[in-house]
Amino acid sequence: MKGWRPPAPFLLLLPAILVLAAVVIVPLILSLYSSFTPFRLTQPASLYMFVGFRNYARILTDLEFWTAFGRTVLLLTVALNVEMLLGLGLAMLVEKATRGQRLLRTIMMFPMMFSPILVGFQFKFMFNDNIGLVNNALQSLGLTDQAIPWLIDGTLAFTAILIAEVWSSTSVFAILILAGLLAMPKEPIEAARVDGCTPWQTFRYVTWPFIMPFAYIAMTIRSLDVARAYDIVKIMTDGGPAKRTELLWTLVSRTAYADARMGLANAMAYVAILLSILFTVYFYRKLAAARTQIAAEW
């Protein structure tokens, strides 16, 4: 009697499946499970106490969490819009360049090559109230004689973080929109010009609908990025001072490691992921709609 043997492809893939399971699926399940326990790093035994949705219920009424949540959404909205506008502008300028376009495209990608940690340090230095470039420049230009507390005042710190985010990621939009512009057929634009369009109308009615899907792709990518924004904030303000720039992920990490409340932190993380998913689904829908609109073949 022959025993059952799994098919060869399965056997060959088995090592990969095992490794994946070990590094991805198991931690994922474990973290999901732990979000239903009062797990504290200092009390390993608490991992085995199941408390159902208590962590989630607690989050629902946690003002600190919702403040961070709201701030994250705000950062997301403002950053995406600003990046979108700047990226669009940059892409259109580069597309107009008749020579040196390759070089410009490469330069445009520079910010993407920096690690976010580095960007954080760089902007932390620039916005430093005593020795920072920004204050120095403002004072030398005579625009102010005070040291503006960039990273200390809540709104200013938020702005500084926003600027760092925008600086590091506008190129995502610029590159994708530029790709759209370069792929766009030129005839409809010419037709629009003959049809009586001013340059602005040509953009509004012909160019923009065409590059919209590309903008949405960038939005989708970036919404994931910003919803998990951590490194830049961690370095620049670490959510402070006094939690004035706390975002979801700085809050999660503080809860998990500083407060050692892993279970609660995991619950927060899952709510945060939900936010990411919502944004992604939203932009994905938009993308699909925009694609059908221009009858894209991709």
Binding site: P185, E187, P188, E190, A191, A192, R193, V194, D195, G196, C197, T198, Q201, Y205, V206, P209, F210, Q293, I294, A295
Partner: protein, 365 residues
């Protein structure tokens, strides 16, 4: 009044000049066809007129006014592109009404005009589709509709029918002709297809390498080509053009075969002159199978050997051997011929053309 005048119009791309100072006067409501081989500058010329391509030299006047530096939107013209250039994200209705919307008309003003144009072009049932859901011919009609709706003073067409199959092309050709009769706009129509040019145009402009070779009515360019190039370009199958030398009042071809010098040219050539002899296939036919053998015909009989035949049903093209080259003739009321047969042919020399070989210009007065 929409006359279009090109005065010494020049187009340069960097250091390369592709249109070399052409002159052309297009009268109001005239239908002009611009023909020429690929790359001769037809599209470039049309695009300069449209304002899509900056003019490098000379003047362009529309309605007597210099418009060199006006943007396309200020020139009041409509253009139909070879690739249709429909707006992919708009329905047929929106495509056709777009220019009116841009001009600031209200939706309730636009609708009837679009419906009207759609009816003319038989597009009514397609109005809510997008271009990607249309066939090539339908897209072509939408492109046309978009132009008609504008009711412009000047229509520009850039090979609008070249993407269609033969049948649809014939059909659309008729539509365009009707359209022109109806809208009474000035039309400049670029085409590769000389049948389109001959059937549609009031006058044909033949371009070559950025120069205008000849301007004339279809009869003009067909019957009185000014140059060897025009003679070879207009007419299908093309005119037989064979090099010969004048000697003893005769034309001597490469292998020594001779034809009498047509009477009309006797005073215009000198002995020893190098010429090119031109004869349309219609004027070279097996005896008894020609178009006309009227009073004025100056028919020369000659036995020729048949190399190849191309039966087309109502006529047969006969390729035969003479003067060391291959000549094509046209046999009406055809009967079966076998390659290798030798039979009597008629050269109708009253219809012959003669060109100076070096300059390529006609020797006709």
């Amino acid at each position: 009044m929409a006359t279009v005048s090109l005065e010494k119009l020049v187009k340069r791309y960097g250091a390369v000049e592709v249109v070399h100072g052409i002159d052309l006067e297009v009268a109001d409501r005239e239908f002009i066809a611009l023909v020429g081989p690929s790359g001769c500058g037809k599209s470039t010329t049309l695009r300069m007129i449209a304002g899509l391509e900056p003019i490098s030299g000379g003047n362009l006047k529309i309605g007597g006014k210099i418009v060199n530096d006006l943007p396309p939107r200020s020139r009041n013209l409509a253009m139909v592109f070879q690739s249709y250039a429909l707006y992919p994200h708009m329905t047929v209705r929106e495509n056709m009404g777009f220019s009116l919307k841009i001009a600031g008309q209200k939706p309730e003003e636009i609708a009837p005009q679009v419906e009207e144009a759609a009816k003319t072009l038989d597009l009514t049932h397609l109005l809510d589709r997008r271009p990607s859901q249309l066939s090539g011919g339908q897209r072509q009609r939408v492109a046309m509709g978009r132009a008609i709706v504008r009711n412009p003073e000047v229509f520009l067409f850039d090979e609008p029918l070249s993407n269609l199959d033969a049948k649809l092309r014939t059909q659309m050709r008729v539509e365009i002709k009707k359209l022109h009769a109806k809208v009474q706009s000035t039309v400049i129509y670029v085409t590769h297809d000389q049948v389109e040019a001959m059937t549609l145009a009031d006058r044909i402009v033949i371009m070559r390498d950025g120069y205008i070779e000849q301007v004339g009515t279809p009869e003009d360019v067909f019957q009185r080509p000014q140059s060897k190039f025009v003679a070879g370009f207009i007419g299908s199958p093309p005119m037989n053009l064979k090099d010969a030398e004048v000697a003893d009042g005769q034309l001597v071809f490469e292998n020594g075969d001779r034809l009498p010098l047509p009477a009309r040219f006797r005073e215009r050539v000198t002995a020893g002159q190098k010429v090119t002899f031109g004869l349309r296939p219609d004027d070279l036919y097996p005896a008894g199978h020609g178009i006309h053998s009227g009073e004025d015909a100056d028919v020369h009989d000659q036995d020729l050997r048949v190399i190849l035949t191309e039966p087309l049903g109502n006529e047969t093209l006969v390729f035969s051997d003479f003067g060391g080259a291959e000549w094509v003739g046209r046999m009406l009321n055809p009967r079966r011929l076998t390659p290798g047969d030798t039979l009597p042919f008629c050269f109708d020399l009253s219809q012959a053309h003669l060109f100076d070989r070096d300059s390529g210009r006609t020797l006709r007065g």
